[in-house]
């Protein structure tokens, strides 16, 4: 993975083995350390340098749709 300071990518947890999970990044399955988060199979995690730094909010999983809803609420309601 290209190393950039902030870049982090979302992956879906498919298998949990203690503190390491297997996460699916659009077909690439890669081990991810979950020492910084609490997850269950099916969760999406944001991964930075091999570590999950946040569990993605499943209710807001459709990120662009949520983005536009937030803007609508802020300025058009």
């Amino acid at each position: 993975m290209v190393k950039q300071m902030c870049i982090a990518v979302p992956g879906k947890v498919i298998l949990i083995e203690k503190n390491i999970v297997k996460a699916d990044f659009n077909g690439n399955v890669i081990p991810v350390d979950i020492s910084l988060v609490k997850v269950k199979v099916g969760d999406y995690v944001l991964v930075h340098a091999g570590y999950a730094v946040q569990v993605m909010d499943q209710e807001n999983g459709e990120s662009l749709a949520q983005l536009f809803r937030d803007l609508e609420e802020a300025f058009h309601s």
Binding site: M1, V2, K3, Q4, M5, C6, I7, A8, D33, S35, L36, V37, K38, L46, H48, A49, G50, Y51, V53, Q54, M56, D57, N60, G61, S63, L64, Q66, L67, F68, R69, D70, L71, E72, A74, F75, H76
Partner: protein, 365 residues
Amino acid sequence: MITIHDIVNYLKNYDGPTVRLMEVCGTHTESIFKHGIPSLISSKIRLISGPGCPVCVTPADYIDRAVEYAGQPEYIFCTYGDMMRVPGTKGSITLRDGKATGAQVEMIYSPLEVLEKAAALPQKTFVIGAVGFETTVPLYALLMEKMLKQGVINIKFLTALKSIAPAMEWICQNEGCGEERIDGFICPGHVSAIMGDRIYQPLMTRYQKPCAVAGFSGEHILAAIYDLIRQITSERVEIHNLYREVVRPEGNLQARELIDRYFQPVQTAWRGLGEISGSGLRLRDIYREFDLAFESSCGEDQSLCRCGSVVTGRLNPDQCPLFGRLCTPNHPQGPCMVSTEGSCGIWARHVLRGKENKQLDGKGD
């Protein structure tokens, strides 16, 4: 429901007073150029890159110190790739130069890699060039935890870890009036994922700057710009989280507790900004033996590099006399050209190659 087309139309046709928006994340800088955002928006919306590249804001004498450790036989210096080519003070040698002449330098992708290396070679001390913002700090805290638990203690950090919010406050305290003022902040998405968005409250309450926490896609960044313009034109001063899928108000509490367990805030030096209190993160006193960080202020840099002005948004890269001439991606004079997140390197990749972006901030014009 608003659409991306509505947003782009609004931004393209914006004809109000000139607005200057600062982002403080090298990955945002890259994304802005990659998606051609300056060409999509009105020339009255100026996008400024601030001190968002951790390598770029590390004082030059940090490299001198790193090269010194790498040259001693009992140490192995571990660093990220983009630190390898950053010059030290007075144009002195880089870590890459040092490695070529026999210094022990190893490239790493994550600080946690060093644990296995150090366990396998207990007779050496591994020094990690610990440079980064809050997205990366939890990994160093985790490494400390694992080191102590596993008894692998032949690792030391040369810390230059920083918190971005104090630097944003510095920008507000030191902005000029008129052309140098900042009207709003695009806040870093993944720093916010760790720290939450409440860290930007002083910008709102003390300095009256609207903030929008942004993700990294073109849509996320355009939405943040739109949000800030709408706030400014309606005289609202709020913090809007536009990256709710990963950013909670409180951030990642587990990661923050881990950071707090091992690190303390300290005054530290930022290239181009000077000393800022509470802006650095160094190991707590009980772990001091593991931290080689120096306490001194910025080293005097005799080179002509204008990185300090670039990271504060006072100069665009192409306004530096060295840009594209003496300073190029192949022959960098300073960290802003070397680092993947440095503004000069990003401009060189997107602008020097003829991908024209007309609507960039016209400082000096």
